[in-house]
Symmetry: C5
Subunit: 95 residues, 5 copies
């Protein structure tokens, strides 16, 4: 999984039928200091996360292991909202 910030939303009305009702969020992956790192990803939301929240997302087939993404053509899912993380005993982020 990777840490990411939700920076926006994507609207797509014409899509594979099984995707109806899924919310697509635009994510900016973060490094361990909370700084932007790497390219954006579009992920389905499985936990009720909102814009500006810091989340964990899973990719690949693991992204289909939630009730909302099961058997759907979705390769990235937000599966947790991050409360905090620490590195070497120092808290780097707290919600």
């Amino acid at each position: 999984m990777f840490l990411a910030k939700i920076i926006g939303t994507v609207v797509a009305s014409q899509k594979e039928a099984s995707l109806e009702g899924l919310r697509f969020m635009l994510l900016q992956p973060l490094d361990e200091k909370g700084k932007p790192a790497g390219s954006h990803v579009v992920a389905a939301d499985a936990v009720g996360a909102g814009v500006d929240e810091i989340v964990l997302y899973a990719s690949g087939s693991s992204a289909r292991q939630t009730v909302v993404t099961d058997k759907r053509p979705c390769d990235a899912v937000i599966m947790a909202i991050v409360d905090s993380w620490e590195v070497g005993g120092d808290q780097r982020y707290k919600k």
Copy 2:
């Protein structure tokens, strides 16, 4: 998933039998501002998308979770046509 623009088409008459009837599109991935970012990808079309449209595509085993790609040797699929997206409250793209 990633945002991409359909920039072209690929024709391949000699192929794995199960791929008969699939349309292969050439995609240019886009960054969150809609600028080209990263290398092209060839994806099957599951939503009736056409050249110049902005789409979402899924990769890996998730690309097989559509009626047209099920159980086929296909690792990328266009699963939605994008209407719009926004970042930080600003609309960055509208169809």
Copy 3:
């Protein structure tokens, strides 16, 4: 999937028993202009392709969705021989 040119062959007599009979080809991925782009890949051949041909290959679990690769430890497969592709209405390659 990605576009690639078959640039060579790999011989491996000592291998997982299930791989017996598979042909391994050395691929040079191509960009949308047909220029070499990125690192080589070794793929199994599912379509009777030969050296110097331009092909499409699929990676990951999708590479096992052919008769010759089913349930085998193979993560890349040539699943189509390319006839032509075009970008923005211009033909970039024709066999």
Copy 4:
């Protein structure tokens, strides 16, 4: 798999229900000399590893092949704690 050092922990109370009880560790991948190499990864712990330990982690669907990650939206798992490794007959790391 890749070698990595556990550099921290991530706390996420609001998450997919199936993830309850999993511990998320922040990993810094290492090169063959034991130096940091590449971007951090967040992995679930399947072996009781702790901060500062050197571990092996597996990604993708393979990350779900443990008792604690089975059928969960988790794409990286710590599946071994490293005792030592050697390159060209020289021990590069010993716990």
Copy 5:
């Protein structure tokens, strides 16, 4: 699959129970000329390969399609020992 040289071994006594008996090898991926290219990978050995041998390895779920890796948290496997390869009719490597 990718070409690689086995440059070392990794010892890990505390690991997921299902991994008992697997040998972990440290691989240096090679380019089509046989030169080191890209970051090392740790792979399980399914073919009795040894240090200094040139091999092919498969990644992802395909790495679990061998007797020794089936249903185990292992995402890379050595599935063949390379005898030789050629590019453009020139032999680039012979065991």
